[in-house]
């Protein structure tokens, strides 16, 4: 597979390689595009600045947790603590930013917490050779409990200007997402980033070739933690407050988005763009089904059918080949 980008891709080779990596998710892209068009037709306000802003704000936290989950799954890991970490990020932001620490201090606290939790989890999983699913399940209770300790019931506050900046009528969230994706591309060009896919797909082979497998995996957990608490910070800004259980649903949704995006459970398979498209589809579905006037029961069924469809179509293709 050409999933391991070479250190200095020749320009002529770059685009064919990228195109080949799109094969698995091409049908997903078509489905997402179809939904985007449907949404635009049903709700023309989408093409105004505020309409686009509100739509991307609904998507943004899910996009971040999808990335947080995808980076782990690419290394062969998984996290069941993402939802709890989002909650913790949200309550830390909501309790610090309006206080003496200020916005910068609060954001730093959120970032350090995310990196720290992620690195600690990664260290336990990688160095102690414990199953990620067990460690992160236990971690979800600890982190979720910590969120309830920081803020036992919904409250706290976020400075109004920050809420307006991140989640007002400007597409700031979308710009930040583009920046994060650019950073991800940069990361993939660093030694640790380069090792990411190799560590996931064939850890033993990678280790024997001198790839820092453990380092790459622990770094992936740390980045995942950072993305999760970052999503929490955004949710706090979006809602203007903190809620210690606001993130719960993100755990399953992050896995759904990553799997929908063609990321394999075994590591080394899939692309970040797939995970992002998967999260976009999950978010779009909610709005499109609303505008189509689906009843809640029909929504449950349709949601399941769309997810199965998006995952199954590439498999049909494979079988035919």
């Amino acid at each position: 597979m050409s999933t391991i980008p070479s250190a200095t891709p020749a320009g002529a080779l770059y685009w064919p390689v990228q195109a080949r990596r799109n094969i698995g998710v091409r049908s997903l892209f078509v489905v997402v595009l179809g939904f985007l068009i449907a949404y635009g037709v049903l709700f023309p306000g989408l093409f105004t600045a505020s309409g686009f802003a509100k739509f991307t704000q609904s998507w943004f936290p899910l996009a971040l947790v999808a990335m947080a989950q995808a980076i782990l799954m690419l290394t062969g890991g998984i996290s069941l603590a993402i939802g709890a970490t989002v909650s913790l990020g949200a309550v830390i932001a909501a309790t610090t930013m309006a206080g003496p620490l200020g916005v910068a201090g609060g954001a730093a606290a959120v970032a350090v917490t995310g990196l720290g939790i992620g690195a600690a989890t990664g260290f336990i999983v990688v160095r102690l050779r414990l199953p990620a699913i067990v460690v992160t399940l236990a971690g979800s209770f600890i982190i979720g409990g910590a969120a309830l300790l920081v803020l036992p019931r919904p409250g706290g506050s976020i400075p109004e200007w920050l809420s307006d900046m991140l989640a007002g009528n400007t597409p700031a969230a979308f710009v930040i997402l583009v920046l994060i994706v650019a950073l991800w591309k940069l990361y993939l060009a660093t030694p640790l980033g380069l090792s990411l896919y190799a560590s996931g797909e064939n850890p033993v082979g990678a280790y024997r070739s001198g790839v820092p497998v453990d380092g790459a995996r622990i770094a992936a957990y740390a980045i995942s933690g950072l993305l999760s608490t970052g999503a929490g910070l955004f949710v706090a800004a979006q809602t203007g407050s903190g809620d210690p259980v606001i993130g719960t649903a993100f755990t399953l949704n992050s896995i759904a988005a990553a799997v929908l995006g063609g990321i394999g459970f075994l590591g080394g398979q899939g692309t970040m763009r797939g995970a992002l498209a998967g999260s976009l589809l999950l978010s779009l579905m909610i709005s499109v089904m609303f505008f189509l006037g689906f009843t809640p029961v029909a929504q449950y069924v349709a949601q399941g059918l769309i997810i199965i469809g998006a995952v199954a179509i590439p498999q049909f293709r494979k079988v035919q080949q």
Partner: protein, 350 residues
């Protein structure tokens, strides 16, 4: 030159004052968020947080029934329903979609007491009538909030139980899930009465979802640990049913217990001849919210908070409730009867 500009600005100031007074008095007449530019028939959006529990289904039933009535009066033409499947973030997105599709009213049970505040402020600014009931949001940017008083629930339940066990004894307290406002508030409401009676000893407390099975399990293990229990302060109907079943399964004698209008519990109450008391979160809060939204849109003054008095079920009134049991699902809640006259009365009281 100077003079004339002075006069101009002074008169402009006066005009502004007059205008703002005018606008102010107009705003006083109409309910919060209402601008008066929306005309019947209205579209109502019902932003449900989670449609699966029976209580929610019954509540939606009362909303649909009310909307049918309002449709016949030509006041409503459409009810749009969303289900956030328990996810407060999804609920925000769905409320945003309701704003985008320009509904005239939003009625909601909030998935978080803080999270929807900003999106509701957006809706309020667009003149959408917002009626928030059951689980409330910490914001005043809504037309009205409608609820019973959870603290009063806890207080009345505690007082009944303390009285029923003669002011002293060992009790268990059964709560709903931790970190949820309703269960916190009911529990806090019970505090004062418990503190006033130091002879009432709390053996243990549980936090379980408002479901029979987990409550039964939790109480069963507490029964093993505590051979002597004089009463159970249960702050939810399914919890009470679980506790009664747990006592029954172990062959223990039933003790005084508080509860809620869950059909299963009311039937157990009659069946086992319990000494009991129950109140309820009436499902018709949903119907009342829809009714109130339309009243506000029609320009009627609506109080910012409508406190619904807790209907009480005791040994004198339980037969009346059980007589209507067949009209309710087996795992549902037998709510007190309601009609438009009651709604009118509730809206007038301040």
């Amino acid at each position: 030159m100077m003079k004339s500009s002075f006069f101009a600005s002074a008169s402009a100031l006066c005009l502004g004052l007059v205008l703002s007074l005018g606008v102010g008095s107009q705003a006083n007449a109409a309910a919060n968020c209402i601008k008066g530019d929306r005309k019947a028939p209205y579209t109502i959006g019902w932003a449900d947080i989670y449609s699966v529990p029976t209580w929610m289904k019954q509540t939606q039933g009362t909303i649909e029934a009310e909307v049918e009535t309002l449709k016949k009066q030509g006041l409503v033409d459409k009810l749009v329903v969303t289900d956030a499947q328990g996810d407060a973030n999804v609920q925000i997105q769905q409320i945003q979609s309701m704003i985008d599709s320009n509904v005239d009213a939003i009625i909601l049970i909030a998935g978080s007491s803080t999270a929807p505040a900003r999106v509701l402020a957006d809706a309020c600014a667009k003149g959408i009538a917002i009626i928030n009931f059951d689980s409330l949001v910490d914001t005043d940017k809504v037309t009205a909030k409608v609820n019973t008083d959870s603290a009063q629930w806890g207080d009345q339940a505690a007082k009944f139980l303390i009285d029923a066990i003669g002011g002293k004894g060992k009790i268990l307290i059964l709560n709903g899930p931790a970190g949820v406002s309703v269960s916190d508030d009911r529990r806090k409401g019970a505090d004062a009465a418990l503190k006033a009676h130091p002879d009432v000893k709390v053996l243990a407390e549980t936090n379980t979802p408002y479901n029979v099975a987990p409550a039964q399990e939790a109480v069963t293990s507490l029964l093993f640990a505590n051979p002597e229990i004089d009463g159970i302060l249960s702050l939810g109907g399914a919890l009470s049913a679980g506790a009664v079943l747990a006592l029954d399964k172990q062959g223990r004698e039933q003790v005084p217990i508080t509860g809620e209008n869950a059909r299963q519990f009311l039937e157990l109450w009659k069946d086992k001849g319990l000494k009991s008391w129950a109140t309820m979160q009436p499902n018709w809060l949903g119907a009342f919210a829809a009714y109130t939204a339309v009243q506000a849109l029609e320009g009627k003054d609506v109080p910012a908070f409508v406190k619904i008095p807790l209907p009480v079920i005791d040994n004198s009134s339980i037969d009346g409730y059980l007589a209507r049991a067949k009209d309710f699902p087996a795992d549902g809640y037998i709510y007190s009867p309601y009609d438009e006259a009651l709604f009118k009365k509730l809206l007038v009281q301040k």
